[in-house]
């Protein structure tokens, strides 16, 4: 495995290096409602998302993972702390909500392809909106990228006409068309059956090896996390904070044979206890609330 650039290297000037898109999350607090009476969703959360790698955040449902993702994407504000993308402060003191932008694209849990646009219209949406490409250029690039992702024949279909697995792939291509520095994936494969999921994982890795875009991946599926991630961040249940950060040193490129490898099982063992503990806490907390 190649040495991972440390977080400090992210400040190197843009020299055309592919490793862009480091996110650093510093002491982030998110309170829904008033400071003293509101719900503490994220509590002094600090960790790094190294550039050009896949960081997977694992935690019980409703623990506040998505709150972090929304803060990075610029959909919601934070209460305290700061988040940086490379050298640029996304949100922090004096500017609690980041503006959304094409450098941070979210692939949503249940998908957010526009149903009224054909797949290729969806894929070309970003570059055309930003004025980054002409229509013709955008369509050419979209066709190339869709072909690359094995999506030859679906360009003129509507998202409603293709399977959910294919839809998810189209959405990732749509995201990549914006040349994002970081892809934010919020449990993108949650609704898929496990067989489709396994296909999607390999497809995602293939796309990642080609583009080397930083990926911030949220899930509560431990196997998925270890299979995909360079590092896995296990979150505590609400309030959300890293409980354990594990570097997965299984070499990339990975394929499905990894799942049965001894090292993979060791990582499962190492993390399962921590995740289970939080799941029990989350369950108990849920009981109390109701």
């Amino acid at each position: 495995m190649s040495a991972r650039p440390t977080a400090t290297q992210r400040s190197s000037p843009d020299t055309g290096s592919v490793h862009k898109g480091a996110v650093s999350i510093n002491d982030v607090v998110k309170i829904y409602g008033a400071d003293d009476t509101g719900i503490l969703a994220v509590d002094r959360c600090t960790f790094e998302v190294p550039p050009g790698e896949i960081t997977v955040v694992v935690g019980p449902s409703g623990c506040g993972k998505t709150t972090l993702l929304n803060a990075i994407a610029g959909f919601h504000s934070i209460s305290y702390g700061s988040i940086y993308l490379d050298d640029q402060m996304l949100c922090g003191p004096g500017k609690l909500k980041a503006p959304p932008g094409p450098d941070r694209i979210v692939v949503f849990q249940n998908g957010a392809l526009f149903p009224w646009k054909t797949n290729i219209e969806n894929v070309t949406f970003g570059p055309i909106m930003q004025g980054a490409m002409s229509r013709g250029e955008a369509y050419d690039k979209a066709r190339d990228m869709m072909a690359d992702a094995g999506l030859h024949d679906v360009g003129h279909n509507y998202p409603g006409e293709i399977s959910s697995g294919v839809r998810r792939r189209v959405e990732i291509v749509r995201a990549l068309m914006n040349n994002p520095r970081i892809l934010l994936l919020d449990e993108p494969y949650r609704a898929l059956d496990s067989l489709t999921k396994s296909v999607m994982h390999e497809a995602l890795l293939e796309i990642f090896y080609k583009n080397r875009v930083t990926i911030f991946f949220i899930t509560h599926d431990l196997e998925e996390a270890i299979f995909l991630g360079h590092r896995v961040v296990i979150m505590t249940t609400r309030p959300c904070r890293p409980k354990k950060i594990i570097d997965i040193d299984i070499p990339h490129p990975r394929d499905y044979s990894v799942l049965t490898a001894k090292r993979f099982r060791e990582f499962m063992d190492e993390t399962a206890a921590a995740v289970h503990e939080e799941a029990i806490k989350a369950f108990a907390a849920g009981e109390k609330e109701r």
């Binding site: 694209i105 979210v106 957010a112 009224w116 949406f125 970003g126 930003q130 998202p159 914006n178």
Partner: protein, 283 residues
């Protein structure tokens, strides 16, 4: 083009062969037979079936319709009603869609307009007839206004509901990809609301037919009563006139004409709706 024709005709062919088609045929045939027997019960069996015996038989109505379609005044009535429906419906769309969108998009505007809207909405369009006769200079405008009200509220409510139901993720995705506020309106809110606009229009046009006929009966039949006058005519007036004249077959013929006209209006709107929202039709 040929391919299109072929698929359409094969669609029709498979529909005719289908079970649903024959179920429909049987249902209508039984209904007509029951009606025919019922209305002729006095003559055939010597005693009158309750209720149905008062109604002219379908064969008599059919004969009457055969006669009516050759008459200019009948077509004039149908034309006048259609024109009023179109005017009222068109105005309801032109005013209702932007209003609904504005109410859905702007919290302030919604806060100001919605209470008034909600107070006016439950008032039945027909309750407006006397007031609108006073408001508007001509009978024609009064009828068109009442017709307009029939479709207006349905359309606005559907537009508001449709626009507010658009998934927030679409807005977030569009924002991330660099859309301006105008882009979001044009490329997210407008197409996202379109299916509800189609539903509102299809329902609205049906209400429009119900309202126009009643308005014609009340205002057109009540005042001058002149068939050739500006506010005279229309299918509602035609039915009212037949009632006054005691021609029961003509009443039923008029009713059926309205049914057919309403069906055609809804079918046309559904087709236009399908054409405008191609992503909703199954491939």
């Amino acid at each position: 083009m040929i391919a299109v024709v072929r698929t359409t005709s094969s669609k029709v062919a498979s529909f005719i062969r289908g079970e649903d088609f024959w179920r429909g045929v049987v249902s209508i045939a039984v209904f007509l037979a029951f009606w025919e027997v019922g209305s002729r019960s006095q003559a055939w069996f010597g005693f009158a079936f309750p209720w149905v015996s008062q109604v002219p038989a379908p064969t008599a109505v059919l004969r009457e319709m055969g006669r009516l379609v050759q008459e200019w005044s009948f077509w004039n009535s149908a034309f006048l009603s259609s024109l009023r429906v179109f005017e009222g419906f068109f105005a309801a769309m032109v005013i209702g869609i932007p209003l609904g969108l504005a109410m859905a998009v702007s919290r302030t505007f919604y806060g100001i307009t919605f209470p008034v809207f909600e107070v006016l909405r439950p008032i039945p369009p027909l309750a407006w007839v006397p007031a609108s006769i006073i408001f508007w200079p001509t009978q024609e405008l009064s009828i068109a206004f009442v017709t307009f009200l029939g479709a207006f509220f349905t359309i606005v409510i559907n537009v508001i509901g449709g626009a507010q139901a658009i998934d927030v993720r679409y807005f977030q995705a569009a924002r991330s990809m660099g859309s301006s506020t105008w882009d979001i309106f044009r490329r997210i809110i407008l197409p996202g609301t379109l299916p509800s606009i189609v539903v509102g229009a299809t329902v609205g046009v049906g209400i429009t037919w119900a309202v126009v006929v009643a308005a014609e009966m009340i205002s057109g039949g009540g005042s001058a009563g002149s068939v050739g006058g500006a506010a005279g005519g229309g299918l509602g007036f035609f039915i009212w006139n037949s009632y006054v004249g005691g021609s029961y077959t003509q009443i039923v013929a008029g009713m059926i004409s309205i049914g057919i006209a309403g069906y055609i209006s809804s079918a046309v709107l559904r087709k236009i709706g399908q054409w405008m929202t191609p992503w909703l039709s199954e491939s």
